[in-house]
């Protein structure tokens, strides 16, 4: 009974916070509500017994997306971009009614669906012995449906190329644009020194433990990327130049090793197929390389397009 009450309250809270994120007047509170919303959704995933998803939602959906949006809000504010909204309240009410009806239709559709068959859980459980890892979600991500993960890591890389391409020509190859003015005795600088050791340990642990328990390269990589961003934002180290050779090797290492293992599998019969005897070690190899590339790519995606010092401040 208590559990049902908790779930109902959680759902109500999620909906209220989502409404606040979407319908408020000002931009910055909307972004803050969105971050809270992401964390609440992560709790919902825990309630649904999907801890791997909860970790990804908290780290990527709430955390990294949150920093990205806060950063963008600050940049737009410095450029003095107007926030004024158009549209009459009558139009908004009409839109609201339409959207409520649409959501009700989806909800009715969901309730009228009869669960059929057994799903894929039994099939995964049957084949888990030869997958090389004990966590069924990691087994799906890196063995049974490795295609998804390979292409996902390439999507990340393409997004980074897209972000970098938005830099002006004169900034090309510069340091990614998180220029910070942290005071040396400020909170950020202090956090930048205290948190990284803890964050590093947690991040590496989450990557490592992904083979047995909830966790993995993406979730752990996000924590490590956050540590890196924190150190950069605290002004303790500078983000590397975007034309550095080492950086670029690191960026492609994960997808490249993943592809290489995939082609090796093709020689043995199946592209991306892992022989059961070596699956555990191969997955560890892929996850380690992937985690490195994910840390760099996620961090640089948040940092934004490269800039050069000689350029004007954010072009404003």
């Amino acid at each position: 009974m208590m559990a049902v009450v908790f779930d109902v309250l959680l759902c109500a809270l999620i909906l209220v916070v989502a409404l606040a994120a979407v319908s408020g007047r000002a931009l910055f509170p909307a972004v803050v509500f969105f971050i809270v919303y992401g964390l609440l959704v992560a709790i919902a995933w825990v309630r649904l017994d999907a801890v791997d998803v909860a970790l990804a939602e908290a780290a990527i959906g709430a955390g990294l997306t949150g920093i990205l949006l806060v950063g963008a809000t600050a940049r737009l504010r410095r450029m003095e971009v107007p926030e004024a909204e158009t549209g009459t309240s009558a139009a908004r009410i009409a839109t609201g009614i339409g959207c409520a009806m649409f959501a009700a239709m989806i909800g009715l559709g969901l309730l009228s669906l009869e669960p059929r068959g057994t799903g894929l859980a039994p099939v995964v459980a049957e084949n888990l012995a030869g997958a090389g890892v004990a966590n069924p979600v990691t087994a799906v991500l890196l063995n049974f449906r490795a295609y998804d993960t390979l292409l996902e890591s390439i999507v990340l890389l393409v997004a980074l190329v897209g972000v970098w391409s938005l830099a002006e020509d004169r900034h090309w190859g510069g340091h990614p644009g998180l220029r910070q003015h942290a005071r040396t005795d400020g909170v950020l600088a202090a956090f930048g020194r205290i948190l990284p050791p803890v964050g590093l340990m947690i991040g590496v642990y989450i990557v490592w433990t992904g083979s047995k328990q909830p966790g993995g390269a993406f979730q752990g990589g996000t924590v490590l990327a956050a540590v890196w961003l924190l150190v950069v934002m605290a002004g303790l180290v500078e983000a590397p130049r975007s034309d550095g050779r080492l950086l670029r090797i690191g960026l492609v290492a994960g997808p490249a090793i993943f592809l290489a293992v995939g082609f090796a599998g093709a020689l043995g019969g199946t592209f991306l197929g892992l022989p059961a005897a070596h699956a555990g070690n191969l997955i560890l190899l892929i996850e380690t390389a992937l985690a490195l590339s994910i840390v760099l790519t996620l961090g640089l995606l948040v940092a934004g397009p490269p800039q050069r010092k000689a350029g004007t401040e954010d072009g404003a």
Partner: protein, 114 residues
């Protein structure tokens, strides 16, 4: 016990459906592109929640790992799209001084001065 889990799955599935509606409202109601990006992410997580909850309704077999893996991939891809969109919105604001599309300007015809 199993009935309780099925109720929970239905509850969070309905929550996902409502989130999709809320997200679409935000997407339509705002011209500011960052507000639209927030709404886009709300729609996305609503769809994930709907999908994940339907995957849990066959509770006798435990939480299905395949939808979970697909959703994790989806979260990462949504983040990539968001990062690219933030960069594009910032660039648009640099060039035009506004964070909305030219055709959304009040009274401004498309193809007007930039």
């Amino acid at each position: 016990m199993i009935e309780l889990l099925a109720t929970r799955a239905a509850l969070f599935g309905l929550c996902g459906a409502a989130l999709i509606g809320i997200g679409i409202y935000g997407f339509v109601a705002h011209a500011h592109l960052l507000r639209r990006l927030v709404a886009f992410n709300v729609i996305g997580s609503g769809i994930f929640l709907l999908f994940g909850a339907t995957g849990l309704r066959r509770v006798a077999f435990g939480a299905d790992p395949v939808p979970q893996a697909l959703i994790i991939t989806g979260i990462v891809v949504a983040f990539s799209a968001t990062a690219l969109a933030v960069a594009m919105i910032t660039r648009l604001a640099m060039l035009s001084g506004e964070a909305r599309l030219p055709e959304e300007r009040p009274g401004g015809a498309p193809g007007g001065e930039r």
